[in-house]
Each structure stands twice: as structure tokens, then as C-alpha cells.
């Protein structure tokens, strides 16, 4: 792969659009400050095409310009799918073959987060983007604890249900709520279980960075647009491989 640049209307022109607010009254200096920021971001020339005074002591800017950075896609690290995508049928067969019992999955929105639509999209039969949710899988037992589950409640439920995997959703991200809660959760599981028997920990939500699994102490992070099939395939892969190995 070769180096690339942003594309406005000509190959290599490097053009981008930027907007932000500065806590400063509108003036020529304020516009200069906006240019300074854009310059620091690598935009040169940077054109302030719109400056709007807002409230008291704030100005909103729209800036267009060329960035001089090169992008090297070959150095991008992404969490690529390192497991095969299975149909529900295949997933069921793999579980049957390898575990000889149903696999139990416990899901929840933890902390004070009440956004259940995401986890429901993964778990409920209805599913998401045309794929059925995990409840549809005959060999999966799904326990969906719903919203605002505390970490101790979750650990408790995981124990009671002898969960093979725990699926946690976090949607609210203000002040990094999702990161704090996830770390608290993974620490609690580490505390409550010996390493060998700890359930697989999976966390998901639209604003997660999928490369952060290790940092958060979980086995996998799923972000925006995840489909149930991906999640099922991952769980089955990990849990049946473990058994196999």
C-alpha cells in the first residue's frame, strides 16, 4: 500500500474541513487564533471561512485547508476478525461437538447506563441488520439482565448461571464512563474467579476503540455496527478452541 493524503477534488490536494469553538470573543485576533490552531494541526494554508460569535466570550469557526500529513495505511493496526464467521447452524454444531452442553451467555448494561438497545440487538431473537440474535441459537442459553446492572450483581449472576461468557454494553461515554465501568467490571471478575475458570469477557458499544481490549482487561471489544453473528462466532471460536487446545 502506498501513502495517501486527504482528497478534496484533486489527487494529493490534502484538503480537510475542521470546525471548533474557541473560548474567546470574536475579533481578528480570534480568527488568527483559529488559524494558529489549524496550523498546529498541520493545516497550511488554513482558511477561516466562517466565524460566528456565540454567547459571551465564545466564537465558532469553520476552517478549510490543506494538511501536510501523509497517511500510511500499511501501518494501521486494526482488530481484524481472527475467527471464522459461522452461521447459527455451524455455531450450534461446533458447540455440540466440542462442549456437549449448551453454552451460557450472560449480558447486561452495567453501571448507570440504561441503553439496552445495543445489547438487545446482539442478544434478542430479533437481532440486528438482518441477523438473528444469540437467543436464536439453540445451543446458546442467553440470560439478559437488562439495564443498570451493578458489577456485583453481574458477577453474582455470572456465577449463578455458570456463565461461559459475559457480554457487557456501555453506551454513555461522557467523562469516559464506559472505560471506568469496563475496568471496574473486569477487575471484579479477575477478583472473583481463578484465571482458568473466568468467563470470557466481551464488551461493546458505539464509542469503544476495538484495540483497547487488553488495556480494559477484557477478551474482546466490539464497536459500532457489530452484528450478532460476529459475536456468536467469536464466542464459539474462543470457547471451543480453548476446549480443543
Amino acid at each position: 500500500m502506498t501513502l495517501i493524503r486527504p482528497y478534496g477534488d484533486t489527487t494529493g490536494d490534502g484538503m480537510v474541513q475542521l470546525s471548533f469553538t474557541l473560548p474567546i470573543e470574536h475579533s481578528k485576533v480570534a480568527e488568527g487564533a483559529a488559524v494558529q490552531l489549524a496550523n498546529k494541526m498541520g493545516m497550511d494554508p488554513a482558511l477561516v471561512v466562517h466565524a460566528k460569535p456565540m454567547g459571551e466570550g465564545f466564537t465558532f469557526f469553520v476552517v478549510y485547508g490543506r494538511v501536510n500529513h501523509l497517511v500510511d495505511p500499511s501501518t494501521v493496526e486494526v482488530v481484524e476478525r481472527d475467527y471464522p464467521l459461522l452461521t447459527p447452524k455451524e455455531a450450534n454444531a461446533a458447540i455440540k461437538r466440542s462442549l456437549r452442553r449448551r453454552l451460557t451467555v450472560v449480558g447486561a448494561c452495567i453501571g448507570t447506563d440504561a441503553h439496552t438497545v445495543g445489547i438487545d440487538a446482539i442478544l434478542n431473537i430479533k437481532g440486528f441488520a438482518g441477523e438473528k440474535g444469540l437467543e436464536y441459537y439453540r445451543e446458546l442459553k442467553v440470560v439478559n439482565l437488562g439495564a443498570q446492572v451493578s458489577v456485583p450483581q453481574l458477577v453474582e449472576a455470572a456465577r449463578e448461571e455458570r456463565a461461559d461468557a459475559v457480554l457487557v454494553s456501555q453506551v454513555v461515554t461522557q467523562r469516559d464512563a464506559h472505560l471506568l465501568n469496563t475496568r471496574e467490571m473486569s477487575a471484579a471478575f479477575r477478583e472473583a474467579y481463578p484465571a482458568a475458570t473466568r468467563p470470557l469477557l466481551v464488551v461493546g458499544g458505539p464509542r469503544f476503540d476495538e484495540t483497547m481490549a487488553e488495556e480494559l482487561g477484557v477478551d474482546r471489544v466490539f464497536s459500532r455496527g457489530t452484528t450478532p453473528g460476529e459475536v456468536a462466532s467469536f464466542i464459539v471460536h474462543r470457547l471451543t478452541q480453548e476446549k480443543a487446545s
Binding site: 470546525s19 471548533f20 469553538t21 460566528k52 456565540m54 454567547g55 459571551e56 465564545f58 465558532f60 453501571g111 448507570t112 447506563d113 440504561a114 438497545v117 437488562g146 439495564a147 443498570q148 454513555v172 461515554t173 461522557q174 467523562r175 464512563a177 458505539p206
Partner: protein, 529 residues
């Protein structure tokens, strides 16, 4: 659009009457149920009306400390009033605070007074609570005076903007900036999780998640700041918060005391979206609405929320059904038409053909059914994505429906809906969007007359028909899942696809069936008896 005017949508008056009759038939047994119960929060609200505020060093409010001890000693079924004022009359404390502290220290024992003791306790408590209600009355007068003096919002719809930084001291300048840019109503969004707290936090707070805690002090600070801005701008800027969750009655009370102007307050939201026990909710609802009625607060109901989980076309009639129920419950609690900000929303998938015309049909239906209610018109949220440009456009068309259908309260949509809680610039851009639409097309309704057998009118009648059918079904729902029928229907997942049985859900342990000698001076005064 006034009552009595011929329907633009070809709606038969008899159908509307039938819908209201059904709503009453469904709602009345719930009111009876609510009247037979009390809750910890109703009791704490009563103590707050009597002037008990503040919290212990751990942050637990004194009303909680006191009510808990009373309950432990004599149960909740008599209400806290008789035991508490009995103790006061007995000289167990100089005032409520002293009594609460003593109770917390374990040095008072409560009893249920009888005979003359009871009469004395009743009289003393009624006096104390009446003082609180008088403060609410004075705030209502203060609001009316201030509006008369500085002026009101210049036109309808009122422009409603949210602030949600989590920090009251960031919220205040942002709210003032929003007001200066044109907001008529400021809503301070609550921190996640507050709805499930069984107490109201105390003091000025700076650490909410995706919203700021609702506290009496935060209410006071924000109202004072907006009073200042109202004077500066020459128009009264209204303040909104949430009377919702486990402490609904108390928050309603604090709102009345601190002169908030509108409150989110839905008869079923807590049940469906917070898994709060249905009976707890209906009891708390009725009390909080009685307070709102007295305080001259406009309520905002939460039908828009259904459409964030259910499909906005398929479930359109559940919105109408819920509006009819909210209306019934609200009026029963003493609220007047002008106080009913019934909710609905622009949540149809923009990919659906004719989505805009469907939105118009739904919005016009609400307008015709509730001609004298302000109506709260909620922007698209569910189909907003990270594509902020598309989002900005969608918000513009939402504003257009608002303009064309005479909505009273317009919640301004943000282009960053799917990304972050609103930035200062999001609000500014959003207001600019509203202003353009209102100025350019605000009078378009004059030119807009859907034909009575056209797409829009047919759709509106269809939705009303489905709502009537649903109400009929609810009325007839007499299975084991619950009684009255509405409880059975809620247990079955009729609303927002959530199944909420009457014997489950949070806060159930805070509910008690009233004993024969139950007494609550607040209810007595609010019900005018």
C-alpha cells in the same frame, strides 16, 4: 385548530369521544389503586413540604433518615406524618431537623398516635405542610409576576434546549448563552442513574455522567441564573428538570419550591424505561402531578421514548394511546390543559418512503386530539448517525413539521445526537436551524390543506383507529398478569415492547397499602379537602 373547529383530517368527533371514554375506563381503576397506596417518596415529599431539608454527613438526606426510622418503628401504612408530628408534639425534638437527627442517632421511638394525640399531630402537621404549599403558591405568583414584568417567550413554539455537562457550574453559563441565543426553555439533563437513587442528592454538584444531578441547590442556582438572564433579555426563560424515577414526588416538590417551570413527568416512563414497579410509579405519579398542578408547572410526558425502541410507524398508535392516558391521569390530578406538554416525536426512519408526510400525519393528529395542550415535539434521535450533515438536515425537517402543525414546545435537535451530549456550538447551530425554518416557513400551514381522503388524513385516522382498538384491548385485558387491566397490559409488553409485571421492578419495597388511619396533610390540602 381550536375545539369545535371542523377536523382537517376528517376525524369523527364520536371516535375522539370514544377514545377518551376508554382512557377513563382504563385509567380510573389505576387512580383507585394509587389512592389506596402510599410510598416512601410520597412520605418524604411530605416531610420536605414541612420544611425538612439537608443531609447527614454521608450525604443521606434527613428526610430519608427520618422516614426510614419511622418505617422501621411503625411501618409505612399509616404515613409518616402522624408518627412524626406525634413525636414533635411529644417534645422529642424542637423541630423536624432536630427530630431527624435524633431519630438517626436511634434516640427516638415512634408510635402511631391515637385519639386526641392523633388529632393534635394531624393539626400540627397540617400547619407545617401548609406552610410549604404556601411557599409553592408564592413561587407560582412570583413566576406570574415576573412574566408580567419582564415579558414572556415572544412566540410559539417555545424553543427548548438542553444542557448536560454534568457540572452545574458549566451548565449555568451554557444555559445563559443558550437563552441569549434564543432558548425559551432550558432543560438541565439529569445524570444517568439518578432515577434509580431512592434519595435526592444534596447541594451543588459537579460530577454527573451525561447530565447533572437534580438537587434543590442546583435548581436554585440555575433558576437564579436564569432569572438574571430573563431580566437581561426581557423575557422569562423557563427551567425544566425531571420529576421521574424513584423520587418523583420529592423532586416535584423541590421543583415547586424552587420555581421550576416545566417538569418531565410521565405516567409510565419509569415503569417501562427504568423498570420501576408499576404501583410505585402510579402512586408517585399522582402525588407529583398534584404538586405540579398546584405549582403551575407544565408537565412534559415521555411518549417520544417509545419510539426509540419501537418502530415509529408501527407503534405510532401507542403514542396516541399513551397521550390519552397521560391526559386522563393528569386531569384527574388537577392539571389543566395548558399544563399538558404531551410528548411525541419525529422518529420515523428517514429511509421510509413518505416519511415526512407520515410525520406530518402523526403530528397533526396529536394537534387535533389535544387542541388546547401545548404538546412537546421531540427531534429525531434514533436515526441520527455520525453524519452530522444529514442530521442537521433531518433536524430542519423536524422543525418544519413543528412549524406546520403548531407544536407548543419544540425540543431542539442536535446534529451531534449520535455522538456526544451537546456542545455549545451544537446548540447555537441548532437554534439557527430553528430560526431559519420558523422565519422562512413558519406560516406554511396557511397553504397546507391535506385533502380529507388523501394520504395524510387517512394515515391520521388509521392511527387513531388503532389507538382506540388498543385501549379497548387494554380495557378487556383481564388475564392473570395484573389487575387493574392496565397493569396486565403493561405486564404483557404493550408499551415500548417492555414487559413489566406489577409485582416486579425497582422500588416495590417502598410501597405500602394505606391503613385505615393513614393521614397525609399534603394530599388533603392538594385535593382541597
Amino acid at each position: 385548530m381550536a375545539v369545535g373547529k371542523a377536523s382537517q383530517l376528517g376525524i369523527d368527533k364520536a371516535d375522539v369521544r370514544r377514545a377518551r371514554t376508554l382512557a377513563r375506563q382504563v385509567g380510573k381503576p389505576i387512580v383507585d389503586l394509587a389512592q389506596r397506596h402510599t410510598t416512601v417518596s410520597v412520605e418524604r415529599a411530605t416531610l420536605r413540604l414541612a420544611g425538612l431539608g439537608g443531609a447527614d454527613p454521608d450525604g443521606t438526606p434527613w428526610v430519608n433518615r427520618l422516614a426510614d426510622v419511622v418505617r422501621a418503628d411503625v411501618g409505612l401504612e399509616h404515613g409518616v406524618t402522624l408518627p412524626v408530628w406525634d413525636a414533635l408534639v411529644r417534645g422529642e425534638g424542637d423541630d423536624l431537623l432536630a427530630l431527624a437527627q435524633k431519630a438517626a442517632a436511634g434516640s427516638v421511638t415512634f408510635r402511631v398516635p391515637e385519639g386526641r394525640d392523633a388529632t393534635r399531630a394531624r393539626a400540627a402537621s397540617r400547619k407545617a405542610v401548609a406552610a410549604g404549599i404556601k411557599r409553592i403558591d408564592r413561587q407560582r405568583v412570583a413566576r406570574e409576576r415576573m412574566i408580567a414584568k419582564v415579558g414572556d417567550a415572544p412566540s410559539k413554539p417555545w424553543i427548548y434546549l438542553i444542557v448536560a455537562t454534568g457540572d452545574i457550574h458549566e451548565d449555568i453559563p451554557q444555559a445563559q448563552a443558550a437563552a441569549r441565543e434564543g432558548a425559551d426553555v432550558i432543560a438541565v439533563i439529569r445524570s444517568t442513574g439518578q432515577s434509580l437513587l431512592d434519595f435526592v442528592p444534596e447541594g451543588a454538584t459537579r460530577e454527573g455522567f451525561a447530565g447533572t444531578y437534580a438537587t434543590q441547590e442546583n435548581f436554585r442556582l440555575m433558576r437564579a441564573a436564569l432569572d438574571e438572564t430573563s431580566r437581561e433579555l426581557g423575557r422569562y426563560v423557563r427551567l425544566t428538570n425531571y420529576a421521574s424515577g424513584l423520587c418523583m414526588p420529592e423532586i416535584a416538590t423541590l421543583a415547586g419550591l424552587e420555581r421550576l417551570d416545566m417538569m418531565l413527568n410521565d405516567s409510565m416512563y419509569g415503569i417501562l424505561f427504568r423498570d420501576i414497579n408499576p404501583i410505585r410509579t402510579f402512586v408517585d405519579q399522582r402525588f407529583s402531578r398534584q404538586i405540579h398542578a398546584r405549582a403551575g408547572i407544565i408537565i412534559n410526558t415521555g411518549e417520544d421514548n417509545y419510539l426509540t425502541t419501537a418502530d415509529a410507524v408501527e407503534a405510532a398508535h401507542t403514542v396516541t394511546t399513551s397521550q390519552l392516558l397521560n391526559e386522563y391521569f393528569a386531569k384527574e390530578a388537577g392539571l389543566e390543559d395548558w399544563q399538558l406538554g404531551l410528548g411525541h416525536a419525529f422518529e420515523i426512519d428517514p429511509e421510509v418512503p413518505d416519511s415526512f408526510r407520515l410525520e406530518l400525519a402523526h403530528a397533526m393528529l396529536a394537534r387535533e386530539l389535544f387542541p388546547d395542550a401545548p404538546l412537546k415535539w421531540m427531534p429525531p434521535t434514533r436515526h441520527m448517525t455520525g453524519d452530522i450533515f444529514k442530521g442537521y438536515l433531518l433536524d430542519g425537517f423536524f422543525n418544519l413539521v413543528g412549524a406546520m402543525t403548531g407544536q407548543g414546545i419544540l425540543l431542539v435537535g442536535m446534529m451531534t445526537e449520535a455522538v456526544v451530549t451537546p456542545w455549545i456550538s451544537d446548540r447555537d447551530l441548532a437554534l439557527q436551524n430553528v430560526r431559519y425554518v420558523m422565519n422562512a416557513a413558519g406560516n406554511l400551514h396557511e397553504d397546507f390543506h391535506p385533502s380529507p381522503d388523501g394520504f395524510i388524513a387517512r394515515r391520521a385516522r388509521e392511527v387513531l383507529g388503532e389507538a382506540v382498538d388498543l385501549l379497548q384491548e387494554i380495557k378487556d385485558d383481564t388475564d392473570a398478569a395484573g389487575d387493574p387491566p392496565l397493569l396486565a397490559a403493561i405486564a404483557d409488553g404493550t408499551f415500548g415492547l417492555m414487559k413489566r409485571p406489577a409485582d416486579k421492578g425497582k422500588g416495590l419495597d417502598g410501597v405500602a397499602r394505606k391503613a385505615g388511619d393513614y393521614y397525609n396533610p399534603a394530599t388533603e390540602i392538594l385535593e382541597g379537602s
